[in-house]
Amino acid sequence: MFFEQLINGLTLGSTYALIALGYTMVYGIVQLINFAHGEIYMFGAFAGLFLVAAFGVNIFWALLGAMAFCMLLGVVVERIAYRPLRGKSSRLSALISAIGVSIFLSTLMALLRGTNTTRYPQVMSDKTFHLGSVEVSSMQVIILLVSALLMVGLQLMIQKTRIGKAMRACSQDIDASALMGINVNRVISFTFAIGSALAAAGGVMVGIYYNAVWPYMGTMAGLKAFSAAVLGGIGSVPGAMVGGLTLGVMEIMGVAYLSSSYKDAIAFAILILVLIVRPQGLMGQKISKKV
């Protein structure tokens, strides 16, 4: 029982982590809470649904297609709604702009598809594995594997490649990076593209796992993922992974052992308690204030 709940929690948590990575990377570079990120996740889920329903492709092509589509969407959103504001306004204005984009995108999808939930078509036969007494479904295995693969890939890209180095430089000091000849705008676009692609992967997998997608699914998922990013220490990539997994496991455990009607409150209560004890998040660095 406990181990099954743990697997359930890790599955949910890894989707939170995928979305949280987008928040944390964007935040690390431009200090913007990208509120439209939850809606990009929702668009990813719908793009995957469309590919499966219209072309009958298998889950991996649907995943890749949705990721490619959301990369484009993320870059376009950044270009239209955030870039004109950068540098000449307070961070709160950019936040309101992000909220505007979020309302726009979820309404757009509600107009296109209606507000009801859409069921995902059967994309794969559901097998159940037995590891001792623990039951694991094939979908959970796929979610865990794909998330792990994406996170390792991301970590390699950030640590080993040239663009990853540019991203790290920008997150340390964006002005100094520009002076060193880094094309800051391109790095920011790239960050949005990668973050959106990860969110889309999360969206497709959640859609298949829970067998349901709807236009407003992004709001709560976005809030949870943002709290995961904050829990881990916002701006820190490993922090988002740890935060997402922790939040997922705690939420499932809370539902299993405490009460299911308080499901959404549990995650936030834990978050508040952690922040009171550790104000910089689990893996965030304590930055001393500079004058």
Binding site: S90, L92, G100, L223, F226, A269, L271, I272, Q280
Partner: protein, 295 residues
């Protein structure tokens, strides 16, 4: 008074005017916390919800007089504002934003499961005693007190915290105390607005006070201009009327609303009346020959 006014104004516009008044009270509360003191709060609807439910439960279940219930609701909200203000001593910026979001969500889930509040079905049968006159008298009182506060030593110290906390502290401003004060006062006004809202709508449900409501209130403050009383009032008026005006485009209403936010922010990044205070307006009108020379 209400009877006289409602003879001349269409019931629909009358309703919008009352909602504008309630939103001005709510937004001015958030303006104190976020606009003036610079502590990003994204859970103002949580305070509103506390005020609304407390006052409604008192009037319905305990037959407490309306004014006492209204005050009690505001005080309960203020108490929670005080408690939520305490972590701000340690948290900053977006961590604080997350705590306020979490707080509002916990309050919402609590009322979803709260038996005397009707649980998820909603709370109905609240006496409809909020009147146009009452709302606007309160609006005028709240604006006046806000104006007095922001022009006092305390108010200027609050602006100083927003501009530069370290400098403010170095100049002898008790930042801890003022941040908690800003939260408490903001929450008080949130609770007051919530009580008025509950006794006007006579039906409330936890969904009325969700994350989107907090965001809507934040939009009013930021759109109008952070820290500016005239700006916040203008923002409240525009964002209360905008969804009504956009009814002509029907289903596309929220689509336009979202796009409107983006466009306004691109063209007026600091809000419509960013940091315009009553003082500046008065100066401009009273002494026309003196051009404002502030940079």
């Amino acid at each position: 008074m209400d009877a006289i006014i409602s003879q001349y104004i269409d019931a629909y516009y009358f309703r919008i005017l009352i909602l504008i008044g309630i939103n001005i009270i709510l937004a001015l509360g958030l303006n104190l916390t976020t606009g003036v003191t610079g502590q990003l709060s994204m859970g103002h609807a949580g305070f509103m919800s506390l005020g609304a439910y407390t006052s409604a439960i008192l009037t319905v279940h305990f037959a407490v007089p309306f004014f006492a219930a209204l005050l009690a609701g505001a005080l309960v909200a203020a108490l929670f504002g005080f408690l939520l203000g305490l972590p701000t001593l340690r948290l900053e910026g977006d961590y604080l934003a997350m705590v306020t979001i979490g707080f509002a969500e916990i309050v919402r889930v609590f009322f979803l499961n709260f038996e005397p509040g009707g649980k998820a079905v909603g709370f109905s049968g609240i006496p409809q005693v909020t009147t146009f006159t009452l709302v606007w008298i309160l609006v005028i009182i709240v604006i006046y007190l806000n104006y007095k506060l922001l022009n006092s030593r305390t108010g200027r110290a609050m602006y100083a915290i927003r501009e530069n906390e370290i400098a403010a502290e170095a100049s002898g401003v008790n930042t801890t105390q003022l941040k908690v004060l800003a939260f408490t006062l903001g929450a008080f006004l949130g609770g007051l607005g919530g009580g008025l809202f509950a006794h006007y709508m006579f039906f409330i449900e936890p969904g009325n006070f969700g994350f989107m409501k907090s965001i809507e209130l934040l939009n009013m403050v930021v759109l109008g201009g952070m820290g500016s009383i005239p700006g916040t009032i203008l923002g409240s008026i525009i964002l209360t009327i905008a969804p009504e005006m956009l009814r002509i485009v029907q289903d596309y209403r929220l689509l336009f609303y979202g796009a409107l936010l983006v466009i306004l922010m691109i063209f007026r990044p600091n809000g419509l009346l960013g940091d315009v205070r009553f003082y500046d307006i008065k100066k401009r009108f009273s002494r026309k020959e003196v051009k404002s020379c502030q940079s």
